[in-house]
Symmetry: none
Subunit: 352 residues, 2 copies
């Protein structure tokens, strides 16, 4: 079942039975190499996570490493959930957005859009992104994109992306200290907070919005803010993610404020997991309500209560929570009659 | 399983696995306010039934009232069946036809076609419909309609619609006294017959067909007769309903007779419920065989024998029977591999 976070259900209901293109925005930031800041991947090879996620999502195989990315605690990537949905009720199309990955996924036949962008540097010392240029690339991509399907599901795979998202929102002046999620159950607040503190110090006084973003944000957030604005409501779009996708909207909101622009968000929604929607350590609703435009947001009423697999039970205990569009994929699955039983069973298959 | 009433199964079989647009034609007639004539809704608020049906069908929520429409006896609207099918095997598209409702459904994102038509008056004193104009609107809509899907399922929600249908067929000279169905198990024949008797008296002698229709019919029947003719076989069309939809065909038949026209009905079928097809108080087969063209008609071999819910058992006892395209939706579901078990379970979910 699809449940509401903010707004109404009409838009998402209108997509029931319709065809979706699934887009995965991949990027790396050196922020992820700060020890202990993320568990989205294998220590020392965290940078491979978006690459492996893309490989597994599209082909069912991991190619750039011998095994699927899971954390030291053994939490498997949420790509398993997205892939399970794709097997049970295939997306009509999957496209990859290379927003600066160290290593391209080893896949053929799947469109990889390239934006001539490098991984960003650590926000601790300055991300060093040409944010205005990257934002413009997002705008142009949105303006020119033609979709063969009825709507787009836009997902992300960015290790340490919640840290850069939180830094971004704080740097833009949003009061959101406790609103951002983490892939950890017990958030390593010291490391994360210190990193963000350092990052905010790097921003020169009186910086414009793109200077701020270029210092403390990540490629996914900046590009997707442009993409949302460039798409300009012409194709229904579901932002499939948690607080990172909420941050994309906060950036959109701030850019509109600065430029005195407006957005028609009627063809836009955010879809995430129940682990994010019901997380007592973060508050996505609060983030979404900080936007001056109203946004429909939803979560899939799915968890692993039907599974006894210890790795999956970790999700219900608060690990991982979201990523690779897992929440949006689950919502898509539920709009297309997939059941909790079917999805659980399919995810369990991958772990055999 | 899809069973035959008249004709052959080739046309309906050719739609197996194909995509459908579901259209709900909504209208009110003051005839429904005659006390005891219909049980399609809440006494005093019968006029809201099409509005609530449309809201529930599209969004899963009723918005114009605190609860879903059910009769004083507790028979829930057949919209539950249609919605259940939509959840299990979504229609690709749902559109609403406003053929004169007191209150528009409170839904966004779903196309509501407006035809600038008011609810009709009671046939007891004259329905007062500009039937020729409304018929023309139906013709034009059919001529101009483009469908993104493979076929159209056309349903209706018109409280007291079987009374106006029976009056229509009788007024047009069809010998069909005992052929029309009712939403009641025990049809309140006195009220209904008296109403129809009065209605027929209002028709001036030597009236043309549109004068007759304007006096004793309803907006749904008149418009849809035009729609069928305007569509002119170019898109496969399933009339999803019982004797009211049969009456649409009788009107089509009479208009063709008067205008010495012909219809190619090869892309046309009627689909209804087993409660209608097997009703011993009405005879849809007889109505369909009164047409001078032959028509494929079918019913879904579905009942609530697998349920023990008392409200649903009332259907098997002869209450409600059809409406909101329940029969057509069930046929669509069966053409797409849904089982009786799945549909029953989903309908029961709504009543929890």
């Amino acid at each position: 079942m699809v449940k509401n976070i903010t707004g109404k259900r009409d838009f998402i209901e209108s997509l029931r039975g319709k065809k979706a293109t699934f887009m995965l925005a991949m990027s790396n930031t050196d922020t992820a190499n700060i020890e202990g800041i993320t568990q989205a991947g294998i220590p020392g090879k965290i940078y491979l996570t978006p690459t492996l996620d893309a490989e597994f999502l599209t082909t069912g195989e991991v190619r750039s490493l011998e095994d699927i990315a899971s954390t030291p605690k053994g939490v498997p990537t949420p790509a398993l959930i997205t892939r399970a949905v794709h097997l049970l009720k295939p997306f009509s199309n999957i496209e990859l957005l290379n927003l600066g990955v160290e290593k391209l996924p080893e896949v053929k036949y799947f469109k990889i859009h390239d934006f001539d962008t490098k991984p960003s540097q650590s926000i601790k010392t300055g991300a060093n992104i040409d944010a205005h240029e990257l934002f413009q690339k997002g705008v142009e991509f949105g303006q020119n994109y033609t979709c063969k399907d009825d709507y787009i599901i836009l997902a992300e795979s960015v290790p340490s992306g919640t840290t850069t998202a939180k830094a971004t929102a704080l740097a833009l002046g949003y009061e959101c200290k406790d609103a951002f999620s983490s892939s950890f159950k017990n958030v390593p607040n010291d490391i994360r907070e210190l990193t963000i503190e350092e990052a905010l110090k790097n921003i020169p006084p009186h910086s414009d919005i793109f200077t701020i973003l270029g210092n403390v944000s990540d490629n996914m957030i900046i590009f997707n803010a442009g993409f949302v604005l460039g798409l300009n409501n012409k194709i229904p779009l579901i932002l499939a993610g948690g607080t990172q996708m909420a941050c994309v909207l906060l950036v959109v909101n701030k850019i509109l404020e600065v430029m005195q622009g407006e957005i028609n968000a009627s063809n836009l929604a955010l879809a995430t997991t129940s682990w994010i929607a019901n997380d007592d350590k973060s508050d996505i609703k609060k983030l979404l309500e900080m936007c001056s435009f109203s946004i429909n947001s939803h979560y899939a009423d799915f968890n692993f209560s039907l599974s006894s697999h210890p790795a999956l039970k970790l999700y219900d205990e608060g690990e991982a929570k979201e990523g690779v569009g897992a929440g949006g994929a689950l919502v898509y699955g539920m709009l297309n009659a997939l059941t909790k039983e079917e999805i659980t069973k399919q995810v369990e298959e991958f772990l055999k």
